[in-house]
Each structure stands twice: as C-alpha cells, then as structure tokens.
Symmetry: C2
Subunit: 327 residues, 2 copies
C-alpha cells in the first residue's frame, strides 16, 4: 500500500530529475532558484494521489505534477512582487534578489513552462484537463485581485463571506483543481470529479484558516517566523473577521480602531493589544472549531467517494498532516 510519503517522494524525484536552467541565463536562473526553494509540494502530491485513487498510471501525471507546482510557484513569485514581500521560505524573493523586471518576466515564463509540462503527455481527456487548469488559473488571478481590493477597503468593509469567497478562489481552487486534474487523467466519472474537487475546496479553506491561526497563535520557534505579522501589516484574515463576528460592540470597535491605526502605534504594542482583544473574545477555539469543521467536511466527502479504501490512505494522511501542522 502506498502512503503519502510515496507520493511526496515521487514529486521530489520529479523535481530532482528536471533541468530548469537554460539560456538566456538571466531568465532561467531565477526560475531554477524559485523551483528549487522547496516548499511542501502539496499540489502535485494531491494530483498524484488523486490520480492513483481512480486507478491512474503514475507515469501519466509526471508532467501535470510539474506543471501544477510550477504554476503555483509562478503565482507566489508575482504575489511577492505585488505585495513587496522580501522573503519566501526564509530566502530572498526574486524581485529582491534580482529586480522587478526579472520577477515579471521570469514569472511569465514559469506560467508558460507550466503549460509546456502539462502538454508533454497526451491524454484522451486533454481538453478537459487543460480547461480545468486554465479556469483554475483565472480564478486564482481573480482571488488575488479581490485580496488586493480588500487591503484597500480596510477591515470594516470586508465581510466574512466575501473573505471566504476570496480564499476559495485564491487558495482552495488550486488544491481542488490539482485533485480534479489527477482524477481526470485517470478517467474518473463526473460524480467523482465533483466529489474530489469539493474535497479540495474544504481542504483549502481549512488550510488557509490554519495559516491565519498560526500567524497569531503559532509557536514562533516551530513556525519559523515571528507571529503577529498579519497584525503588523493590517492584513485582513480569518482572525479579525471571526473576532468581529464573535465580539460585542465594544470589542468590535476596539479591533476596528486597532486595524485602522496605520503607522501611529508601536508595532509590538499593537500586536499585544490585538491579541489581548482576540483572547477576550476566546477567538482561538472559535477558529479551531472552524478548521475542524472544514477538515470534517473534507473527510466526509472523501468517505463518500467510490474507490478502494487503501487508495484513500495518502489523502487521509494528507488531511492529518495538514491538520496537525505547526508551520
């Protein structure tokens, strides 16, 4: 029986065996740098596990696994440029290490390379597979735009529902799309395609909620970076939005005031005041409940899929790993 580790290793091997350097060097060096930075490789792993779940052949999805991760890394590269983030995975981002133009053009090229990888292997379902990839990419762009809109709107004007819709597009659809693409290569029927997609949406929402939780409540030593960064950046996340839903009028007003205070407050003081407000609302268990609910929905969806229980193991292990992650 193949567990999650088998697919994580398979993805690692695919990346190890691929050559990303080419000419002109100025274009491909940042691409090689980005694709070798590592990361959890969740999307290609899900793609391969979903393909196996429906009886697919591992060799058929090597290109798609490369393609989905290359696309994901392209979005991170351009997001880091747009957000002016200096670090990614503890290393300088491309726009910092090189410059803005290099970030624009090497990102564009990575997106084109993602298509090259997808197009390597023929499939009777190629049009549907590529349509799924393409529509996913468009949704990710729409999600990124909504995220930028929210930053301009400010906390008071963003609803929890609209934030969840943004996260669905920006984060969840790519996990869902990766799973569906894996299933499509295996020729899974429509009912199961829908189910594995839904599984991915719940997984993605849980993943983001946990990301937001870790930023506030992670163990800095394990988390690998300072907690409270979202608060320093006035970043809208599940934490302030669910705090606003669960707090009383006074708590709501305090949080909105703290998030509206741009540069006129000491950052560490701001973090401790926001965290104190969260604690007063008992926010942590509320978010944990939200995460558990999404993971439970994902699990229930997986239970209902008509496939060999052994083949569900890697996806169950993925749920468990993500559920228990501390960083």
């Amino acid at each position: 029986m193949k567990g999650l580790k088998h697919y994580l290793d398979a993805v690692q091997r695919i990346f190890d065996e691929e050559q990303f350097l080419a000419e002109p060097h100025e274009l491909y060096a940042p691409i090689d740098y980005t694709l070798r930075l590592g990361g959890k490789r969740i999307r290609p792993t899900l793609l391969m596990a979903a393909n196996a779940l429906f009886g697919g052949n591992e060799a058929d999805v090597r290109g798609a696994a490369l393609g989905i991760e290359t696309f994901h890394n392209f979005t991170l590269l351009h997001d880091d440029l747009m957000d002016r983030s200096p670090l990614r995975r503890g290393q300088p981002t491309v726009y910092t290490k090189w410059d803005e133009n290099t970030a624009v053009l090497s990102g564009d090229t990575m997106y084109a390379l993602a298509w090259r990888y997808f197009l390597r292997q023929p499939s009777p379902h190629l049009q549907q597979i590529l349509q799924c990839f393409c529509e996913t990419a468009i949704e990710v762009c729409e999600g990124q735009q909504k995220d930028m809109n929210f930053e301009n709107m400010g906390l008071a004007r963003v609803s929890l529902d609209s934030y969840t819709d943004m996260i669905r597009q920006k984060t969840a659809v790519l996990l869902a799309g990766a799973l569906k693409i894996g299933a499509l290569y295996a020729g899974a029927p429509q009912k199961e395609l829908d189910a594995i997609y839904t599984f991915g949406i719940h997984l993605g929402l849980a993943f983001q909620m946990q990301d937001d939780l870790l930023d506030g409540y992670g163990d800095a030593a394990v988390f690998g970076k300072k907690t409270g960064q979202d608060i320093r950046d006035n970043k809208i996340s599940y934490l302030p939005l669910m705090a606003l839903e669960n707090g009383n009028d006074g708590q709501r007003r305090e949080l909105l005031d703290l998030f509206a205070a741009k540069d006129n407050m000491d950052e560490d003081e701001k973090v401790s005041r926001v965290m104190a407000a969260y604690d007063a609302i008992c926010l942590k268990p509320v978010i944990e409940k939200g995460i558990a609910a999404e993971f439970a929905k994902a699990e229930k969806t997986l239970d209902q899929i008509d496939a060999d229980e052994n083949l569900k193991t890697p996806l169950r292990e993925m749920l468990e790993t993500l559920n228990n992650r501390k960083k």
Copy 2:
C-alpha cells in the same frame, strides 16, 4: 474570392462580439481597455488566412484568433511595464493609467484568458496546436530577456546576428506561430506547416526592420509620433547595427561614442548627429535592401506552398500592406 479585408473584418467582428468585462472590475477593466485599444490585428488575421489557405473552416479558429491577439496584447502590457513606456497606440499604458500591480495581474490574467480562448474549440490536432502556442510564448519571453540584456550590454557588444536572433524570438515567431496554428486547425501536412512558419519568420524580420527604419526615417506626420525616439533612448536596433557593419572605422567610432553618451548631450542634437552619421553611411538604402530581401524570401516561400492561388491572395495582400506601411 476573399481578400485581406475579409479577414481583417472577421477579426474585428470577433473582438466586437466578445465581452471582456467581468468581476472583479478592477481586474477586467484594464483588460477590456487593452483589448479594445485596437492595433493592426496582424496575428489573428494571419492565423485566419493561413487556416483558409489549407481549406480550414473559419468558425473553427475564432477562439484561436482571439487567443493569439490576447496573448500578443499581454506581452505588450508587460513589456510596457518593464520598459516604463507611458504610451501605447497613443493612449496611456495600463501601468500609467492604473498602477504597476494592476499591470502585473491583469497581464497574467490576459495570458490565462488567451488559453481559455484556445481551449474553446476542440480539434483533433489540439495537443500540437497548444504546443505550438506554448513554445511560441516561451520564445517570446526569451526574446524579451535578450532584448533587456542587450540594453544593459550597450551597442558595442551586440552583434547583428545576435540582434536578428533576438528579433526572431521576440517578434517573428509569434507571426510564424499564428500562421502555423491556423494551418494546424486546417490539418495541413508537415511540409506546409514548416513552409508557412518560415514565411512568418521572414515576414516578422522584415516587419521589425521596417519598424526600426520608420523610427529613423518615417514621416513624423504620418508615423504619428516623433522620429528618432530609439536614438533618444539609446535603443539598439537594425539602424545602428547595420550602420556599424557598413561604416568605416571613423564612422563606427563616432556612432559608438554617440550611443555611449547617456545624458550629457542635448537629445535633439544627438538625433541630428546620429542621423547625419547614418546618411554619411548611406544607411537608408542598405536597410531598405534588407527589408526587400526578407519580403522576397517570404514571397518565395509562399509561392512554393501547394495551395489554390486564390487562397494565397490575402497573404500576398498582407505582404504588400506591410511592405508599404508608413507607420
């Protein structure tokens, strides 16, 4: 018999009938703005004419025509951002009218939309069509990187051959790719696919040579912009490179000095001194000869294609139109 005008009109109709606005508005407004700015629509027109040349069905390539032009406009949008160009077709560029992040993300989305348009219509040759589109896109990115490298290297270190290779990738392969894609939809045999691609490469090189010539020798009133802008920008083009090939040592030294003089010379004086150097070398007829040679190669390639002479008419008219263009 359908002439060039039929295909230009057909392309115009396709764009008129397409809806580019969607939500979020902040993302799609700059896309709609860009795709409605017009331009010569050369690439989709070539695609449709090549499809007809090999007996294809016009309705089958509507998506590809939209896709190739959307891709082209995406590259212009990101190029304008990287080159910090304030104007395109006499109108403010997206990064000027909106901002840099909008230019990055709406460009990314246009590239994804190009794929959506390509994926609209099934074809037995879909994988090959999309591979052609994908490899073309990668070459365009490589060409853009080489162009940026050249700007950093300076005129003295760039050879005419390496410049031609850059232009082939940045400009010519997209014309060639558009033609080949049109032919692929019509199920043209490999020999004709190669020929129509070669036709496009020559057309593209002639087009760029003419572009460079017009910048120096165009009639400002007809050209629609001030001539000599490449000289003001110290931009490497066919003009200085072919002047260096054809001048004597003294003329070469003078040109290299003028191009090395960054900001310490009055721009208009610089333009008139460079143009005087070009005239002393008799550069204009040299370039015109180069353009005529590429157009002749394109025409000869078209002559050898095994197809109904009537169906070659729009492509011959395109050659003539581009050959006679004054802007």
